[in-house]
Amino acid sequence: MTASTAPARPESEAAATSPWVERLRRVGRALALPAGSVVLAFLIGAVLIALAGGDPLASYEALACGGFGISCFGGETPALQISNTIEFITPLLMAGLAVGVAFRAGLFNIGVQGQLILGAIFATIVGLRLASLPGVILIPLLMLAGVVGGALWAGIVGVLKAFTGAHEVVTTIMLNYVAYNLLNYLLINGPMQAPNSSQISLPVGQNAQLPTLIPQEGLFFGQPGGAYHASIGIFIALAAAGVYAFLMRRTALGYEIRAVGQSQRAARYAGISVRRTIIVTMLISGAFAGLTGGLMIAGGSLHYLYADLKFDTTGFDAIAVSLLGQNVAIGVVLSAILFGALHAGGLVMQSDVQISSHIVEILQAVILFSLAANFLRSLKLRLPSLGREPAKPDGMEAAQAALQAEVGSTAAAEGDGRA
């Protein structure tokens, strides 16, 4: 082959020395934007708080205290605040992954709330029925039940989409409402209502509850152990994020999911079954969602199923988490931490400085706007063109020009040699 006999080109060496630098730079660049967006959002939020008659600095101190246990001046126990935050992060992260998987295949799963409810129902049933099993068996079974419940619900969406083309936005919204009514049926004078209560089920037994990070007996950081509800559920969620990353980046299935998300036509060309991939993706998405439901029952502070789960917004907040995290595992983890901390912080902010916790929602929205609109990049883009002077080629441009010149001359040499 002519090309293979050509001398090794310098740019391949350049490429060999730079990938780490390049990779670091890329990670930095990938993080810079969301981080900048968050900072910008907080600046805008500060203005809003001031307009609302609050003290931005005090509000943010309280927010940081509630979210991360730092800058606490109201007698809060940092460890407890962190525990609360972890408790909120866990379902957000899990559900965020559920939304993310679907997004990767080009599917907008607004039905995570419904899938999560089904997961919680299944998990509760297993937790109650098999209460006598030891935890090491019962907890995995309960999680599995959650997975099955969620996957079943999302699977309907996948199958309908694959075989009839029914749009997933419609089917997921419809199935949410079916799930809400199912939940009501079960819990309001229905088969799962606890005998002496209404609108809630019996709690799953001790064996079905996830171990907490801090022992329940004794005093820790000045507070009773039982006040700390953060459970090892956070590790399950983090592990799920790891699985997600591995699935997407390192497996053929993830590759196919991404291919289908980018172009169904191309996927078909490559022999990928689009139908099958859509169904599998929805099953995985539903499994994550169902696992969220399982974690809510086995972890957290309430171990029973409650009808108000239909007003819970986890499944919707997860959409924001996934979008903010740009559907990549690390991004979803970071944005779940941010949203979990904002939620926990909002509660403290209201009690500490009397700023409505609903400010937090506005803040979340501003973060999303700022990220989506990429205000920062627009600012940057606008700067160089202020002077009419055309921009000097930056490093990359210069490198590319050099490369092109080099390749050109190599090719010319070949041509000459043959002529």
Binding site: M1, A3, S4, E11, S12, A15, P19, E22, R249, R250, T251, A252, L253, Y255, E256, R258, A259, Q262, S263, R265, A266, R268, Y269, A270, G271, I272, S273, R388, P390, A391, P393, M396, E397, A399, Q400, A401, L403, Q404, V407, G408, A411, A412, G415, D416, R418, A419
Partner: protein, 527 residues
């Protein structure tokens, strides 16, 4: 060469008469690339001015600037001697500039009429769209320029040749004096190109000025008065067409000598690698496309498939590749009946496929080049442990090898395919499909829209594959390509193989066979 046409026109501008267009010191940079670097271009009134250059030379960018779609970083534009501030296509339209874009600007779900009048729609009773007025005007226009078309046809249903016609009518409808045609012949058959040239000559006679972008040097010589060559964003020079030749233009474009002809030894056909019996295939919409086709393709030969676009070639290839289920008939690769197997298994049986739609099917533009080099092979043992876990190390090594072997010009294997020029994108596909040493290679329009340097390269590779024993089915709208590469030529007409011819068949006979043995091709919408 039609010298008599050139004789009709003045060889130089008449004395003081201002240029139709002057572009001065135009600069436009994209991130990482300077697409236009201090470009000066002057177009005389009433001439056909060809603009040529390799892929990515900056031709489209320059014309998009002229048409107001892009804002230059620097430079100025004069139209008919007057400074023109063009801040959007509307300004260009007002100044009598019309443009037929490289990628059609047609709305598939609209009718032909709606597409043509869009932006200058006749209305009645206030704002109501006046369909009968549209029909009248389009018929008048069609008659005037001999571009017949049915205004009520749905544009997406038309073959590309007719879509091209719609594009030109759009420009004429707006009364443009200066027409920019960006690769208008890229998708046309020789007959359609011929027809188009007749129209262009008519337009010039009627006083219009035309800027014409193409990769086909023959067309440059046939139709233009002047040629401007761009290379990597810079003007290399402008020459009078009658003072130059193909070799010179090619050298200006590429910066070196280019082999314009493929050297190849006679084929040594082996056993049948692909057999097709009584194959009938419908389009995705369920319309008959391939009717009862039988053929045998031998190892070590190139079978060219010629035909006017829309005569079933695409569906034939899709069926062979397992992307479209045939209605009846059977397909064998070697001894394996793959009729029902689908794309994945057909691939495993040894078939490779360079698809005609490279951006829509052959690549995932957002994936890296490395990821694209395993597209369709993502579950192969070489790239995935047990078909499940990707072996990234091997994949990157593989990608680097292909990049080197196939001279893909890219900063790295992690660059997204989107960032490559069209020619280099095509090279990635060619590399991937050839590297598996397939038994059967379906090459569909393998050099469409690719510059001559890359065409030369791809042609060489196809011949090498043949010599290595692959059976190659080459589908192309380029008769030159078909004739110079093929060992046998099958002509498709209305879903059937009209005839199989030797490679030295006269062009006239091919043309005749492609149009049903005589009469002009017609399409129901072209009436």
């Amino acid at each position: 060469m039609s010298t008599e046409v050139r004789a009709d026109r003045p060889a130089a501008p008449g004395g003081e008469a201002p240029y139709a267009i002057e572009m001065r010191h135009i600069r436009k940079a994209w991130p990482g690339v300077v697409a236009n670097d201090d470009v000066n271009l002057t177009i005389r009134k009433g001439e056909i001015h060809a603009l040529v250059g390799e892929n990515g030379a900056g031709k489209s960018t320059l014309m998009n600037i002229l048409y107001g779609l892009l804002k230059p970083d620097a430079g100025e534009i004069l139209i008919n001697g007057q400074h023109a501030h063009i801040s959007g296509p509307r300004d260009a339209i007002v100044r009598g500039i019309g443009m037929v874009h490289q990628h059609f600007m047609l709305i598939p779900v609209f009718t032909v009429g709606e597409n043509i009048v869009l932006g200058r729609e006749p209305v009645e009773n206030g704002d109501f769209y006046d369909r009968s007025e549209v029909d009248t005007r389009i018929r008048a226009l069609s008659d005037e320029y001999g571009l017949h078309i049915n205004p009520d046809a749905r544009t997406g249903d038309l073959p590309v040749g007719l879509q091209q016609r719609v594009e030109i009518l759009k420009v004429l409808y707006r009364g443009a004096d200066i027409l920019i045609l960006d690769e208008p012949t890229g998708v046309l058959t020789p007959q359609e190109t011929h027809d188009l040239f007749a129209v262009l000559r008519g337009l010039v006679r009627g006083g219009k000025t035309i800027i014409f972008i193409t990769h086909k040097l023959k067309e440059v010589l046939e139709i233009s008065d002047q040629v401007t060559v761009l290379r990597r964003g810079k003007v290399i020079g402008t020459v009078r067409t009658k003072d130059t030749n193909e070799e010179e233009i090619a050298r200006m474009m590429v910066g070196r000598e280019v082999l314009l002809r493929v050297d190849k030894a006679p084929a040594k056909p082996g056993a049948a690698a692909l057999r097709v019996e009584h194959l009938t295939v419908n389009t995705e919409q369920g319309l008959p496309a391939v009717r009862d086709v039988s053929l045998e393709l031998y190892a070590g030969e190139i079978l060219g498939v010629a035909g006017v676009e829309g005569n079933g070639q695409s569906e034939l290839v899709a069926a062979l590749a397992g992307m479209l289920k045939p209605r009846s008939g059977r397909i064998w690769i070697g001894d394996r009946d793959v009729t029902e197997e689908g794309a994945r298994h057909t691939r495993h049986a040894g078939l490779a496929h360079i698809p005609e739609d490279r951006r829509g099917a052959g690549l995932i533009l957002s994936f890296s080049i490395a990821e694209n080099t395993i597209f369709g092979h993502q579950r192969d043992a070489a790239f995935a442990l047990r078909g499940m876990v990707l072996r990234l190390h091997e994949i990157y090594a593989w990608a680097r090898r292909l990049i080197k072997q196939f001279d893909v010009r890219t900063p790295s294997e992690e660059t997204p395919a989107r960032a490559l020029s069209g020619g280099n994108q095509q090279k990635v596909i060619v590399a991937r499909e050839m590297a598996t040493q397939p038994k059967v290679l379906l090459a569909s329009q393998p050099t469409r829209g690719v510059d001559i340097g890359a065409i030369e390269f791809i042609h060489r590779r196809i011949v090498e594959q043949r010599d290595a024993g692959a059976a190659i089915l080459l589908v192309s709208a380029e008769l030159d390509e078909i004739r110079s590469l093929s060992d046998r030529i099958a002509v498709m007409y209305e879903g059937k193989i009209a005839s199989i011819e030797p490679p030295d068949v006269p062009e006239e006979r091919l043309g005749l066979l492609m149009t049903g043995g005589g009469g002009r091709q017609t399409h129901p919408a072209a009436s």
